[in-house]
């Protein structure tokens, strides 16, 4: 069965080609069927592969040799193992739901744009699958850049709007910064080990010095920072909300941005051996988690809130990776995929109903118009906030417990972030669904529940958000109930073997669990109460509020210290250095010749007397030279011998 794994990326690729080439001739329904159907096919194969792995274990399937030169072999090969299988399921499964959702959500687009949309989406799935399936870092990198490209294309999908284009460009460039780190890490691996194939690299990891490993992992982490929107490369993700909402759900919440987590989880042995980098990962993750959460509190755009929430959640995942809870991180990827996709799709449903109004201050009271959306959204909010027994609770708990074991400060800060998460999510929920409607009458008139193609994914995801966490019930509740950990054990075996996992006493763990759940509940109630009576004309924010509203002024900071200076340097190069110095030197030689010409011709005075004088003087000089070598010329003569 694993032999058929190449079908998994092939279907989306076919979908991309058909939709891309036939965008003028295909009807909308056909496009939708092709776009979604290919993903469904991939999903089916993925499920088969998943079960195949459960029975037969991991394998590597080589398609052909991508690059083969002396001392370097990079096969185009797929690694089919537990980790990739899990990701395959997430990608194709959620991918399918979102495709399905999109058929309705994007229905107003013109046919060829509609086709373009699905082509991009399929291409994205293809790239993501490559990323996950690749059996070496180069193939991963191919997917890695591929998803970046698709993200770029989809963010700028409505290309008439220049702001969207800027957002798209920003996303691509920031990803590229990370990609450079990734690439350098790959080069380093090739330089030291001569291979990039996972199995070989992990087998030979002992040959690397600590410095090498630290550097490689750090560079890889830079790649992850870019892709998974961590400080300092996170600013593209909120802007990426310019894309259609299903795209945000799929790419900027559920799948692509988790590529960094996947990569580190994949390279877990390297990170386990590089303690320094691991601490860095943890700290960056934690910082991002809190920082993004703080910004999310003050955002008023429904998608922006979710975007910062995504950044924050990704931070948690990195925290998990950083403290060695690889399973926890992957677990959180999974649950997060469920509820964040759900949140985005719900938001999409809202936006769809509100006719592309995204400001939550102008919503409110949608509960009665959109019951399904309301309920599913609420479930997702509960899941992300970490209320048991929703999925988020289990995954987040696992990460936080691991953090607690590693360093209590991590835990407390992480908990603070979790509280903020609960707060802003319920602020969002309350402002959107509770209270009275604050929009225009016309909007109110049109409010209605979304079509069935949109609600079905919502319902499916809601179910998953609720029960998704049950695959990872901690030992605290039931012995050996953490089936995910057992499933992924082979992947992290090497890391587990060399790292120690201190376990808290069960009583203490219960205490932390109950305590945190209690705090979160309090925050939720506070948030609901606080915003239920929200009116549009609330007073302006003050102090920290302004800073948060302006996202800590990070974009401005980047502009000031990087973008503008670079632009100035480029301008200096273009209009001064290039023009006057380098070109000037070249033209200067020409001008010098011209000047010399004008001067030398004056020597030709036309006067015979002058000519004769110069001749006679030349003779005199010649005789003198004869008997006294002119040293310069003599020296020049000896220059080359």
């Amino acid at each position: 069965m694993s032999k058929l794994v190449y079908l998994i990326p092939l279907f989306p690729l076919l979908g991309f080609l058909i939709n891309g080439l036939g965008r003028k001739s295909l009807s909308k329904s056909l496009i939708g069927i092709i776009g979604s159907g290919t993903i469904l096919a991939s999903f089916v194969v993925s499920v088969l592969v998943f079960f195949d792995i459960k029975t037969n274990g991991a394998s590597v399937i080589t398609l052909f040799n991508f690059i083969q030169i002396k001392g370097l072999l990079i096969p185009f090969a797929f690694q089919v193992d537990q980790l990739s299988a899990l990701f395959l399921l997430i990608i194709t499964g959620i991918g399918f739901l979102i495709h399905l959702y999109s058929t309705a959500y994007m229905h107003e687009e013109e046919p060829h744009h509609f086709a373009r949309y699905f082509a991009y989406l399929n291409l994205f799935i293809f790239s993501m699958l490559l990323l996950v399936l690749g059996a070496n870092y180069v193939i991963m990198f191919i997917g890695w850049e591929g998803v970046g490209l698709c993200s770029y294309l989809l963010i700028g999908f409505w290309f008439k709007n220049n702001n969207y284009n800027y957002a798209a460009k920003k996303a691509f460039v920031m990803n590229r910064i990370g990609d450079l780190g990734f690439l350098l890490a790959v080069f380093w691996l090739i330089f030291k080990l001569g291979t990039t194939t996972y199995t070989d690299v992990f087998a030979q990891v002992g040959q690397l010095s600590t410095f090498d490993i630290t550097a490689i992992t750090a560079l890889l982490f830079i790649g992850a920072m870019g892709k998974s929107a961590q400080i300092p490369l996170y600013t593209w993700l909120p802007d990426a909300m310019a894309g259609p909402t299903p795209v945000s759900a799929l790419i900027h919440a559920a799948t692509m941005v988790t590529a960094g987590i996947y990569m580190i989880a994949r390279s877990n042995i390297l990170y386990t051996m590089a303690q320094g980098t691991q601490s860095l990962v943890a700290m960056v993750g934690l910082a991002t988690a809190i920082f993004a959460a703080s910004i999310a509190i003050k955002q008023n755009d429904i998608k922006k809130v979710l975007a910062y929430s995504t950044v924050s959640q990704l931070g948690y995942m990195f925290l998990g990776l950083g403290v060695g809870a690889y399973t926890g991180a992957v677990f959180h990827v999974m649950t997060h995929a469920f509820f964040k996709a759900l949140l985005f799709l719900g938001a999409g449903s809202v936006i769809h109903a509100m006719h592309h109004e995204q400001d939550i201050r102008k919503m409110g009271g949608l509960k009665k118009y959109m019951p399904i959306t309301n309920i599913t959204f609420l479930l997702a909010c509960l899941a992300i906030s970490g209320i048991p027994p929703f999925s988020g609770f289990f995954s987040k708990d696992e990460i936080l417990m691991a953090a607690l074991a590693k360093n209590p400060i991590y835990y407390y800060l992480g908990l603070g972030g979790a509280l903020m998460t609960a707060f802003y999510m319920f602020r969002l929920y309350t402002l959107t669904f509770l209270g009275g409607f604050r929009g225009t009458h016309e909007q109110e008139h049109h409010l209605k529940e979304s079509p069935i193609a949109m609600t079905i994914p919502l319902i499916v995801l809601a179910i998953l958000s609720v029960i998704g966490g049950w695959v990872g019930i901690p030992e605290l509740f039931a012995k050996d109930a953490h089936s995910l950990e057992h499933f992924l054990a082979p992947i992290f075996a090497a890391s587990t073997a060399i790292s120690e996992h201190p376990h808290l006493p069960a009583s203490q763990e219960w205490m932390y669990l109950l305590g945190s759940t209690g705090l979160i509940t309090v925050v939720i109630i506070y948030a609901i109460n606080n915003y239920k009576k929200y009116k549009t004309s609330t007073a302006e924010s003050t102090g920290l509020g302004i800073v948060l509203e302006n996202k800590w002024y990070v974009d401005e900071l980047y502009d000031t210290i990087i973008v503008n200076p670079l632009d100035a340097v480029a301008g200096f190069f273009k209009s001064f250095l290039e023009k006057f110095v380098i070109d000037g030197a070249v033209n200067g030689v020409g001008r010098l010749v011209g000047y010399g010409s004008r001067q030398l011709r004056l020597l030709q005075s036309g006067q015979v007397g002058n000519y004769l004088i110069i001749m006679v003087l030349a003779i005199v000089v010649f005789v003198l030279v004869w008997f006294n070598d002119i040293t310069i010329v003599y020296y020049l003569n000896r220059l080359f011998n």
Partner: protein
């Protein structure tokens, strides 16, 4: 001091003086005349060196023919009254200095040439300069250049015609 030496110095002084006068004279006609004097002095030197043939030819060709030609031209142009406009003083100075330098370096070279310090020119004796001897060599060994000079004269003739004839 022997007669030869006296004659030598006298002729040398005359040659140098009259040559200088060629330069100094403002009137071109005077210059021509001074040049004729110079040629005579040089002819005297030839006689002193017992180069009789050349001495005669010098007087006939140079002093007699060439200088007369010059004189004719000057007369033809009616330049005798004309005061030649003077060159810029600095230009003149430069000219004199250049010429002087030229002489200085050559003289210094000759002074350093050891084998020239002892050698003498045979004066008043040695008969290679007689017409008989020269003629024999000219028409045997040097017959080719002698014939070839005819080409020179042909072209000079053509030149004089082409140039001189009024269109």
């Amino acid at each position: 001091m022997s007669t030869t030496e006296i004659l030598f110095f006298f002729l040398s002084a005359l040659a140098l003086f009259s040559a200088s006068m060629v330069l100094i004279s403002k009137n071109p006609v005077h210059s021509v005349l001074w040049l004729v004097v110079t040629f005579f002095a040089i002819s005297g030197h030839y006689i002193l060196l017992n180069a009789q043939f050349l001495a005669i030819v010098n007087i006939i060709v140079y002093a007699g023919a060439i200088m007369v030609l010059f004189l004719f031209v000057i007369m033809l142009m009616n330049l005798n009254q004309q005061n030649e406009p003077q060159k810029n003083f600095w230009m003149k100075l430069t000219g004199v200095i250049s010429g002087g330098c030229f002489m200085m370096v050559l003289v210094s070279l000759v002074r350093q040439t050891l084998d020239m310090q002892t050698k003498v020119a045979m004066t008043t004796s040695g008969d290679i300069g007689l017409i008989k001897n020269l003629g024999r060599v000219l028409f045997s060994d040097y017959v080719v250049p002698f014939e070839i000079t005819s080409v020179l004269f042909l072209s000079a003739m053509i030149g004089a015609i082409v140039m001189g004839k009024k269109d």
